[in-house]
Subunit: 195 residues, 2 copies
């Protein structure tokens, strides 16, 4: 990929649903939403209105971006859905939600979050590693939120549990602009094996 | 759970598939398999014969334990399946494999591993956190393999992205015996909310 950059139709964003976090995290999420819209990249997300994910969607919509929420019917019934999305796709299960989110997007970004966010990110990273899809993955590393996870990755690599390629394929930045650029240029396992 | 201990019918074990790891990791996996068999606890795993997972299954079988492998047909065709299992369940997809592994087990243990192991562990931890199932989860922390991930969990909790309950529900030990005991006594989110 050294001489050609990907261009993305849509990026899927994962992140924590808690509202009990520092306002700087909410601003970080909003900055990402705005940056994606500015680049003409649509947003795919879990379709909630609360916390960081709501802030991200609001900011993308305010800049005229496309925002697709993918949400299980049970959560729509609890009235937690973001009703202002360009499109709200209602699905029947959490499994269907994850599969559709992954299908609609060309790349993935994880904002700070908890177990659920870690799982969503590790899942798409695993798929990229196994070439189940060829889509780059990135961590928005606000305030070094993901530093300890990245230390774990380094430790796992040193111990022989993952390859240098599987470590390096993960893009990391605390800036939405820099992260989007890194995803455009990311070397994926498949591409590197062909070198 | 303070005054009563769970007893497990089967525990699902995740771990790295690489064979390029220090022999002490293989021994750690074998020790876990032997300990589970000694406790009369069946093992559910991904059904491969290589690396740590093969060593774990061999040790459990050698002690007379029940070992159930759950493996996609495509991997059977590549001849990577452990053919000595008590039972080998052949499924059609990776999704079906994970769902059946989770269904067959009462608890989960992650040995050291890479992105795939992290994803499997984070998924069942998320389900426990959300009460989608009420099954304890544990990390076999050989040589502090998971320490950096645990630092990430602590950081995420301090930042408000996960609760103290969701942090404390994860059992951690470098000893199979101690880890099994911790899983038997683990306080899960549901139980704690009822206190
Ligand atoms: Mg998953």
């Amino acid at each position: 990929m050294a001489d050609e950059r990907r261009s993305f139709h849509r990026i899927c964003v994962y992140g924590g649903s808690s509202s009990q976090v520092d306002g700087a995290y909410l601003k970080c999420a909003a900055d990402l939403g705005a940056a994606l819209a500015r680049h003409g990249i649509g947003v795919v997300f879990g379709g909630g209105k609360a916390g960081m994910m709501g802030a991200m969607a609001d900011a993308a919509l305010a800049k005229g971006g496309e925002v697709i929420g993918v949400i299980p019917r049970s959560l729509v019934e609890k009235e937690v859905a973001h009703t202002g999305c360009t499109s709200l796709r209602v699905v029947e299960s959490m499994h269907e939600r994850k599969a559709l989110m992954a299908e609609l997007a060309d790349a993935f970004i994880a904002l700070p979050g908890g177990w659920g966010t870690l799982e969503e990110f590790a899942e798409v990273a695993t798929w990229t590693q196994l070439n189940i899809h060829l889509k780059p993955v990135g961590l928005l590393n606000k305030w070094g939120f993901w530093d300890d996870l990245l230390r774990w990755v380094e430790h796992a690599r040193q111990a022989g549990f993952l390859s240098t390629t599987s470590q390096r394929m993960v893009c990391v930045s605390d800036s939405p602009e820099t992260l989007i650029r890194a995803l455009e240029e990311a070397e994926l396992p498949d591409a590197m094996e062909k070198l």
